[in-house]
Amino acid sequence: MNNSLALLGLLQRQPSYGYDLKHSYDRYFGTEKALAFGQVYATLARMARDEFILALGDETGGGPDRKQYRITEAGQERVSDWLFTPDVPSENLQSNLFAKTVIALLTDDDAARLLELQRAEHMSRMRALTKLKQGASILQVLICDHGLFHIEADLRWIDLTGARLAQLKKELQGA
């Protein structure tokens, strides 16, 4: 999963201090491993350099956690791109997709559409694998099947998440 894009997405909700950003991030995505402060500031610095964000009211003498950041238009575009570009189905897709969904919900974006696009991507990948199976050796069929089952698992997760979007949104907003 792409930490920087997730942080950028979180910023899209409202301008925040680095400190708050880290805590938001931890709450939504850091259940297993919290983000280190150093990593947050490094990422923020990089994004500021790329002009995806702006530091507000640059209070002199304050450390990075005393700085408030705001997303720029370029940043917003970057987030949107990220959200609505389906990922190639792969092993580590899940956390990214999850982050995208959460961000979309948090920012009142069209999470359902995001999932559907991902779904279509998965399906076309599955179709391709299924085509490969035709007339293939049994060994190859088994490999394809392995891939198919994995993609299918993702797909099922996508479908399930799609069915639970409303519930998820309520929970996120409540939190």
């Binding site: 359902a112 559907e116 399906m123 599955m126 299924t130 479908d159």
Partner: protein, 239 residues
């Protein structure tokens, strides 16, 4: 798929709406189905997939919208299914369409072979010819030794293949399948599916197949996703 998009759709639905009492099962659906394609219809339970299929096949008449069937390139050949009467739709279903369901669609008292002959006989084929064609189909589906068995003596996968044979017996233009592998395990499902697809593709039959199973849907050329009685964003017909 681009090639298909250029040919005229064999079945085309516009603005389909249908309600059961206060339940709105379809809320404005547009679909185009192209000749020879295999289309998977997916979507959550209760989203209206079966209702859509029934409307497309002329099993029920939608409250609003139209379904047009165009079996060939000639212009005058198209039929507006949604405005036919019951007898006309029955005849259309009998001669032009085939149906496969999840289970329990075979007449329990008839042998597998006789089950397959029914649509042929209804079409006026002589029984001898019907039996011959049915036996061929069962052969193709690997059921040569099961022709005399009753459905209760067949396994689920065998029964499903008999159902496929019956649906294809009349060489329909469009085959409608509602979760055809829904009650089978992965391997049996795959066997039934590949055999069905092989026959369908050979004959150039159009297949519209509802399924919950992504791996089944992956056999299709294309899929649409139905959600809350409408085709989900990203699967809509290009205007």
């Amino acid at each position: 798929m681009n090639a298909q998009a250029q040919t005229a759709p064999i079945l085309s639905a516009r603005g389909l709406r249908h309600s059961f009492g206060s339940t709105e099962a379809l809320r404005g659906i547009d679909v185009d189905i192209h000749p020879g394609e295999v289309l998977a219809v997916m979507g959550p339970s209760g989203s209206g997939k079966s209702t859509l299929l029934h409307c497309l096949a002329g099993v029920i008449t939608p409250d609003a919208g139209s379904v047009t069937y165009q079996p060939g390139p000639a212009v005058g050949q198209s039929v507006t299914i949604s405005s036919l009467n019951e007898a006309g739709r029955s005849r259309l279903r009998l001669t032009e369409f085939g149906f496969v369901f999840q289970f329990g669609q075979l007449l329990p008292e008839l042998s597998a072979l006789d089950n397959v002959t029914i649509p042929l006989l209804l079409n006026g084929t002589r029984r001898k010819d019907a039996l011959q064609r049915s036996a061929e189909l069962l052969d193709r589906l690997g059921l040569q030794d099961n022709g005399t068995k009753r459905p209760s003596e067949l396994s689920g996968g065998q029964a499903q293949r008999v159902a496929v044979a019956r649906a294809l017996a009349t060489a329909p233009k469009i085959l409608f399948a509602d979760e055809p592998t829904g009650s089978l395990d992965s391997l049996a499902a795959e066997n039934v599916l590949t055999q069905m697809l092989q026959l369908v593709r050979e004959a150039g039959t159009t297949l519209v197949m509802i399924t919950h199973d992504p791996r089944t849907a992956a056999y299709a050329d294309r899929e649409i996703l139905v959600r809350d009685g409408a085709v989900a964003a990203g699967y809509q017909v290009a205007p």
